[in-house]
């Protein structure tokens, strides 16, 4: 399943709500980064969040695995309410995987070691099992032969795919993507997006912050447009791209869809 396939990916969304954000607010000093954000994500659903820079989209998904602390409202992930409680944070992070814009692979470990680190130390898997697990996901992202190389020896696209594999090795129920292709050279964006499309096709619950609208059109069950810390519009891709309701959405779309 690749991006070239016309039409939209079949939805795997169920009724079960896995992420619930209610009235979430966050400040950085005097600057309010998130204002009254309400959002429900269902199991198997794929949500693409877009918006101008500074709109709070990265902050939003980073609040979900507590890389940022929300100050107002409630966040519930997988039935666990996210508070300052350390144990709850750990439980949530085990079930939520994250892929970063800058890959953030560990440079002093091989790709294999990057992928087995957390399963060994957090899920307490035996080494053989962790390695088999890692190889499985490395094959999924199509770089099994790179397993024993170091990150610096891989291209950008391969590194990001390795980062996706690393997150998948923890067998998460939810995957968060924070602008996964923004740091890649253009010719490598496709290989990463293809992997993400395959992941979506298998029914993974995904929250993706991205500017890649082609990907969004194919994959998203719902599009979320954020501006100045608020959710401005939520709609299915068809409605979002062809008949956006809000003026701000229209302005944003006209700016990024020019080419």
């Amino acid at each position: 399943m690749t991006l070239e396939t016309d039409g939209h990916l079949k939805s795997h969304a169920t009724e079960e709500v896995v992420i619930a954000l209610e009235g979430v607010g966050k400040w950085f000093g005097d600057f309010q980064a998130l204002k009254g954000v309400d959002l429900e994500v269902r199991k198997g659903e794929r949500i693409v969040i877009c918006g101008p820079s500074g709109s709070g989209k990265s902050t939003l998904i980073r609040c979900i695995n507590r890389l940022e602390e929300h100050e107002e409202g409630r966040i519930t992930v997988d039935g666990i309410e996210l508070t300052g409680d350390v144990k709850r944070i750990d439980d949530i992070r085990r079930e939520v995987g994250m892929v970063f814009q800058q890959f953030n692979l560990f440079p002093h470990l091989t790709i294999m070691e990057n992928c087995t680190l957390a399963p060994l130390w957090v899920r307490r898997m035996p080494k053989k099992e962790a390695e088999a697990n890692a190889l499985k996901y490395l094959e999924r992202v199509r770089i099994p032969e790179q397993a024993h190389k170091f990150p610096a020896q891989l291209s950008g696209g391969q590194q990001q795919r390795a980062a996706i594999a690393r997150a998948l090795c923890m067998n998460p129920r939810i995957m968060l993507f924070d602008e996964p292709t923004s740091a890649l050279d253009p010719e490598m964006i496709k290989e990463v997006l293809d992997v993400m499309v395959e992941l979506a096709a298998e029914g993974m619950t995904m929250l993706v912050v991205t500017h890649e609208m082609g990907f969004a059109r194919t994959v998203a069950d719902r599009m979320v447009f954020m501006d100045a810390g608020e959710i401005v519009e939520v709609a299915d891709p068809e409605t979002f791209f062809n008949a956006p309701r809000s003026d701000r959405t229209k302005l944003f779309l006209s700016q990024i869809l020019q080419h």
Binding site: W27, Q32, E71, E72, T83, G84, D85, V86, R88
Partner: protein, 390 residues
């Protein structure tokens, strides 16, 4: 919209855990300090050692071989402290000046295109840095300066100075009343040089013409006092050291302890300064000197206007660090008998009074004050001169 208060979380809240951890550590530290203090009080009482700082007013009862202020055996311990401190400052200042001069020369030599000079400089650094400073100090003192011949067989220089195992004897110039004019002339010279520099710069900006500011300035600063000295008939009482009996009388005696210490400190620190200067110059990207050359600037100008200012930014912070190291290393004076702060105060005074805690506290506090002062200066320099932006 006002910020809501964060909800209080259960006992697994990381903030609460952090507070508990800090409380535990703090209690442990306080308890530890209290236990140590109790032991100390008991030990002091047992050994009948006094406490408090009144001892600073007591009579010292010992002489010091080099004193920059008036000091006799009737002076107090407090006076001895000041003598030691001044001796440390003397070594530090002379050492820093020498080390900086030698270090800069060394750094430039390391980068020289002359193969022999570069290699010799590298050898200097590799040899000096890998031998302990204390050994070098002791070597210069015991192995060289003390091995010099006695006063009767001194090495003499033009009959006005003599070098032997008691020290270096040089003429002493005591200024008489008219010597004031020389000082005033020097100040006028400096002011005039600055004025000329300012005028020349403005003229250059206006008309583009260059003026030999450096040479004229130097002539003013050196020439005016010289004229004044000649005009007043050189108003100094000169005391030339002369061999009388078994030793030299008159003049100034520079102790071999001081010489060995300063020499060793300067040589050792210069090797570090040399490396700092080298990495400072190398740290300026080559593109800078290439661009300067492409603009037609000659080598000397390019160095002065483009490379050196940038190199200095890299050089100054570690340089001040080395100055601080030199000052702290001067405490090794105790190994050769030079009466610096540590030798006089933390050595003799501590042994005589037995008040180790007070003496060492004062000594360490003095060095700490110096360190903190230097750090503050360095931070100020970094803030003021760091390249803005980027």
């Amino acid at each position: 919209m006002p910020r809501p208060r964060s909800r209080t979380a259960p006992w697994r809240d990381p903030k609460i855990r952090g507070l508990i951890a800090q409380a535990v550590v703090l209690t442990a530290v306080v308890l530890g300090v209290w236990w140590l203090g109790r032991n100390a009080a008991a030990s002091l009482a047992r050994q009948k050692i006094a406490s408090g700082f009144e001892f600073l007013d007591h009579t010292a009862g010992f002489g010091i071989i080099q004193t920059l202020i008036d000091y006799t055996e009737q002076s107090s311990y407090g006076d001895a402290l000041i003598v030691g401190l001044l001796n440390t400052v003397l070594v530090a200042v002379i050492g820093i000046v020498l080390a900086t001069a030698m270090g800069f020369l060394l750094g430039v030599a390391r980068l020289s295109r002359n193969w022999l000079i570069a290699k010799l400089a590298a050898a200097y650094v590799e040899i000096v840095r890998n031998v302990p400073l204390l050994l070098q100090i002791v070597f210069w003192y015991g192995g060289v300066l003390r091995a010099l011949p006695g006063p009767r067989q001194s090495l003499t220089f033009a009959d006005v100075a003599a070098l032997n195992n008691r020290g270096l004897f040089v003429p002493r110039f005591t200024p008489e009343a008219e010597a004031m004019t020389i000082l005033i002339a020097a100040l006028i010279g400096v002011a005039a040089a600055l004025g000329v520099a300012d005028w020349a710069k403005r003229r250059q900006l206006r008309t583009g013409r260059l003026f030999p500011t450096g040479r004229v300035g130097l002539a003013l600063v050196l020439g005016l006092p010289l004229l004044a000295a000649v005009a007043t008939g050189f108003p100094f009482a000169v005391s030339i050291p002369e061999l009388k009996g078994f030793n030299y009388q008159g003049g100034i005696q520079i102790l071999p302890e001081l010489m060995a210490l300063t020499l060793a400190l300067a040589i050792y620190t210069a090797s570090y300064i040399g490396e700092i200067v080298r990495s400072g110059i190398e740290g300026v990207p080559r593109g800078q000197s290439e661009a300067a050359a492409a603009l037609g600037l000659k080598h000397g100008l390019a160095l002065r206007l483009v490379v050196l200012p940038q190199a200095l930014r890299i050089i100054v912070p570690p340089l001040t660090s080395q100055y601080l190291n030199l000052t702290k290393n001067s405490s090794l004076a105790v190994a050769v008998g030079y009466p610096d702060l540590v030798a006089v105060f933390a050595g003799t005074v501590l042994n005589q009074t037995g008040q180790a805690i007070e003496v060492l506290a004062i000594t360490m506090a003095l060095y700490l004050a110096l360190s903190l002062l230097t750090s503050a200066l360095m931070n100020w320099y970094n803030r003021a001169y760091a390249l803005k932006g980027g």
